[in-house]
Amino acid sequence: MTTERIIGNSVPRKEGRDKVTGRSQYVDDMVLPDMLFGATVRSQIPRGRIKNISFADSIPWDEFVIVSAKDIPGKNCIALIGDDQPCLASEFVNHPEEPILLLAHPDRHLLPQAVKAVSIEYEPPWPAIFTIEESERCTEVIWGDDNIFKTYRIQKGDVEGIWKKAAYIVEGEYSTGAQEQLYIEPNGMIAAFDESTGITVWGSLQCPYYVHKALMALANLPAEKVRVVQMETGGAFGGKEEYPSMIAAHTSLLAMKARRPVKIIYDRMEDMAATTKRHPSRTRHRTAVSREGKILGGEIDFTIDGGAYLTLSSVVLSRGAIHAGGPYYWPNVQIRAKAVATNAPPHGAFRGFGAPQSLFAMERHMDRIARTVGLSPVEIRKRNFLQPGQTTTTEQVVREAIDLGKLLDRALEVSDYTAKKKQFASKNQLGSSRKGIGIAAFLHGAGFTGSGERYLSSVVGVEGCADGSVRVLVSSTEFGQGTNTVLSQIAAEALGLPYESVTMAQPDTLEVPNSGPTVASRTAMVVGKLVQSAALGVAQTLIFSKLLQEGYSADDFRAACKQYVSTHSPFRCWSRYDPPSDIFWDDEKYRGEAYAAFAWAVYIAEVEVDLTTYSVAVKDFVALQEVGKVLHPLLAKGQIIGGIAQGIGFSLYEKVVWQNGRMQNGQMTNYIMPTSSDLPPIRVFFEELGNFHGAYGAKGIGELPMDGPAPAILNAVEDAVGVPFNSIPLLPEDIMDGLAAASEENSAVSRVGRR
């Protein structure tokens, strides 16, 4: 076998042909005989107690199937980390999009009117809370004893002693807003129920076994009576990590009562308002810095708004907290992280998962430190970059031979940073626009945090088929990122087969093992490694049975596989995650090897701020990263560019407007994501260190590009206009207000000066 014929090549996307010809089947493309359509009646108030539910006479209610909490056979919750979130509210509501009743009817078009014809009366209004600050004040306690879902404390060295030694103490507060994932395919699910086989759901989703777990608890059914099938999924970005369990639960309840299949497809407004968004955050930094610009230590307070129920907030908080120190060496640090409850729909997973929030703060704060000390943004970073052998904030030793200074130099070179910085500084005084350039350096941990992968204990299968090909069995899902393609490449490479000889089983819990959720940039690195070893198991089986010899050709393999299957049966080899022995993590102290690997990056953004409209245009964007071995250059580049586009939206366009815990702009006309004419050319560069233990040296890639754009862009805006902005999204009105306030302050200073 020759090595790496397929890895590193941009082979055609496995399901690409079906996608470009329109043949791919998404959930709304699927129709079952006798199928009903379902809809959800939601609370309209952020907090209260239901007094009465009434149905207007205008609707022929006898044609409808109606489900309430009373129809739930098992536990009324969406089982995830905790079980606090009800599937259907029966008495109390805690946010304004809480599901209360479900309706189903054969005519999809009748449902919106029927939903409107249900009135829910509440007791006189209960006060609600909507911001981190209101939650912290605890004037209303809406969750537990203190509105706190979870706290973490990461402690390294001694923070008490550093303040006296500091030449500078730099403080700052940074905040980020909610962000909608805005996959173009809205959430949707179909459920069918049959006494003998139980529940089957087909849907748009990331994590088949999360849905499986939730349905078992809800319907009180054993594992074999719940089947979850992933349809082609039109984008997810974390937005289809936990909420599909809710829709699967709803369609299942309707299907069980109706004894007919039921489909629920959210329209855009319901999808945007009711499903999860990125957690809003607030980060406070207080940093002790030496005269030479070295970080001596600091305190970081990282707080996220989790919405009304726990869902995944504790895990988002964990990742945010671990990334809060950025790619820098902190001899002493204390990170205090907290997720709080508010009366908004629960916030959830979105690409980056807490890290884009805390890294935004870190990288804005680095520029503030640079200005305070009087060093350039380049120099301050170089003096503080983590070096191999040093430890992260969780005291994880950096074992990779990463040279962040070199990475930064390369990014400066390809972006022509130094010349542009100089040019913008002199030219900026004239004209009706200002140009600026900004840097963000960051890291992103691949795979589950700490002991997460150990608990997941993922399993992967590879099957030898009757026609001599092999089939990969995983619950890892394709939703655009390239799971099918990359895992097929790995299996083909491992077996020495052509890429075309590998197929992917549709993720269906009846057939595929639990290879864990498709999240956390873990698929290529963790699941890929398991696919590699299960594939080798297939070859070993054929070799042990004397049908094949080492050094075989692809034809030999096919013949041997065919023969094996014809005399035995299709055979499957399994591989289970085996944690590396050198990985240590302390869940109590939050100390140790937080991630099996980090990806490293330096991004550079060039912006132009229009002083008439106050709009910001990103003119150039350089993305340089080290993600281990690039398994598929075209897909990898696509991941980086796509993530940066979402990051540009997060920074400059995408603002969720809230009123009483409700999203007011849940349409694509008023929640603005970037179009093709809003984006610059995005220039992508990969560095490869090699020698990592993931599949063929791959680390994680999917989430990384979400972390860098926001701080790079806001650093560039400050470079352009000379006024700092520390909150995103940064809209033209914010820049107008900020510049006006700054010029007032300046004139006040000069008035004082004249006296």
Binding site: G16, G638, A645
Partner: protein, 165 residues
């Protein structure tokens, strides 16, 4: 969403879809998108927003790109509709379908049918577009996965292949 029971009774509509004449009965205000997907089984056009913003339901009507979620079927009477399914014969691909595949223009695939049809219209009108013209020409079709660069590469390459063919 338009209520199919309200207003007028069903009427007979004749139009051409992907070169084939079609005759069917529908409520006049039913959306072209629903007729294509539910009555004709052409599910390549997708509903992303239902308000003409995202472009994933795009089809060509008499060669002009339209959001089929905004077209009452009455308006489609006697027109010539082209959907993604009719772009190339079975087992073959249009040059844009091939370049989308080769250049990473499709990730999750949900915007792809509409995006490819938008590109078809663009290249019909402007066989040698500049990058800026491609950006502008596709700006009515939203893609959340790609950040558009690889779509633009795919369209530029399709123009090159066509012009050199």
């Amino acid at each position: 969403m338009i209520n199919s029971r309200a207003g007028y009774g069903k009427i007979e509509i004749s139009f051409t879809v992907n070169g084939e004449p079609k005759k069917l009965r529908a409520y006049p205000m039913e959306r072209l998108l629903d007729v294509l997907r539910l009555k004709l089984g052409l599910t390549g056009a997708k509903e992303g927003c239902g308000e003409g913003e995202c472009g994933s339901c795009s089809v060509l009507m008499n060669g002009v790109l339209m959001n089929s979620c905004l077209i009452p079927i009455l308006q489609a009477a006697n027109t010539n509709i082209q959907t993604i399914e009719g772009l190339a014969a079975e087992n073959s691909m249009h040059v844009l379908q091939q370049t989308f595949l080769d250049y990473g223009g499709a990730q999750c695939g949900i915007c792809t049918p509409g995006m490819i049809l938008a590109a078809v219209q663009l290249l019909d009108r402007n066989p040698q577009p500049t990058t800026e013209e491609i950006r502008e020409g596709l700006s009515g079709n939203l893609c959340r996965c790609t950040g558009y660069n690889q779509i633009i590469d795919a369209v530029a390459e399709a123009a090159r292949r066509r012009n050199s063919a």
